[in-house]
Symmetry: C2
DNA sequence: AGATATACTTAACCGTGGTTAAGTCAATAG
DNA sequence: CTATTGACTTAACCACGGTTAAGTATATCT
């Protein structure tokens, strides 16, 4: 159908669109760690393939078929991450890299088989939602731990998965998805937050707390 | 290190070298189903990369480092085939296609994990030997079933894996590796062989019998 | 020896996906 | 209003991996 790069672009565009309200070529270039010129050229091809629409100053927008491609890749990626973790015993800080390469080559059959072996899971090891086969995804946005008022008890929903170092550290703290965290207090001016995770106290810095997403109620994970 | 095509070429060269005594560019082109011109060009690159040596009329020969690359790919391929079959329930006629794509992207870690999950297997689902990590491979050549004298009882060692249709048919006959087969008799002039497979009689044509490899003694599979 | 068929090489071309360097465009500062 | 800055585009280039078409070499047949 299309080259592997196309899939990476569409995925990158989707991810930027989740964070920023306008998807600029420069944001995509940054996300893919390539030159802006490469993005300009590729965006023209994406437009020709009707995967995106683009107007200078308006940003890049995925068409429905572009969104479908993006969600397929994200589904592959997250199913693979979970599979590597559950079935092959990968630690959660190494699943992203492997899934990044595998997601472009697995067949529909592979996808279906690991999906059913995993019991049709809804979230990957970092708590990110897995799109369904028909392109639906839970797009609930959770607040960062950094924005939580002291005194609250919150449920870790997901953590950013791009920095293996940080993931290993989070693992040592026990800050996994579906963990309850009590925000004890916080030093001012970007000072550390004092938490209680499963009974154990720990202090986390601003950067870390920006990369952990939580929900206020301690409702069961759905 | 090198592009995915390089790996396919080196693997194809290795496979041809197992069958023919001289690896001609045309044999490689046929194996990869590409033009002869493409092979000419790529062989020059392989020579530059010291993966092969080549002289017109002498054929293509893998260097030690070329052989290593080929065996790495074959190891990936066969481990993956077995894994897909054992762990994901793929039927044996669909593992080749999936493994073909996966073999180029899996990491050392993936290879090691499935290897130990499978208990360090020695053969893939079609009976082909899996090279060890340090590049050793059981290169025993088994005679084709077609060359066996009537009256013998033989052990199926391996079957060619490239034709899914044939694999499904072999499966219906029960002609799996490690199966005992009694060669009852044979019609002359390329006529069918009459076999007894696990008690059941069946007749197989020349083409099929050329794609099943057996050993005479009923020694245990090693 | 000469014609022909087979095997291989070379040349020109294409799409993909990247680079750097230079140019344009629009918003903002003075 | 102009100068500058940041965002984007264009152009020229490159490596990769393929194609077709044309040319060369070698072996074989007569």
């Amino acid at each position: 159908m299309h080259g592997p790069a196309i899939e990476d672009y569409v995925k990158a565009i989707y991810k930027v669109s989740q964070t920023a309200e306008r998807v600029t070529p420069s944001a995509v270039a940054e996300g893919l760690d390539i030159s802006l010129a490469a993005v300009t050229k590729m965006v023209r091809r994406l437009v020709e393939k009707r995967l995106v629409v683009y107007e200078r100053g308006e940003g890049i927008e995925l068409t429905p078929s572009g969104t479908q491609v993006a969600l397929e890749m994200i589904r592959h990626h997250r199913l693979l991450e979970l599979y590597l973790h559950q079935a092959l015993g990968y630690p959660w800080d190494r699943v992203d890299e492997e899934a990044e390469k595998l997601e472009h080559v697995i067949s529909e059959e592979f996808e279906d088989r690991i999906d059913s072996l995993l019991g049709h899971p809804t979230h990957d090891p970092h708590g990110a939602p897995i799109p369904t086969k028909d392109g639906k995804i839970d797009d609930t946005r959770h607040p960062a731990l950094a924005d939580i008022e002291p005194g609250s008890t919150v449920l870790v929903r997901c953590v950013r998965d791009r920095d293996p170092e940080m993931l290993r550290y989070l693992g040592r703290l026990g800050l996994y998805p579906d963990t309850l965290v009590e925000v004890v207090d916080r030093e001012p001016f970007g000072g550390p937050m004092r938490l209680r995770v499963a009974g154990n106290p720990c202090d986390v810095g601003e950067e870390l707390a920006r990369n952990v997403f939580v929900s206020l109620g301690e409702e069961s994970e759905c």
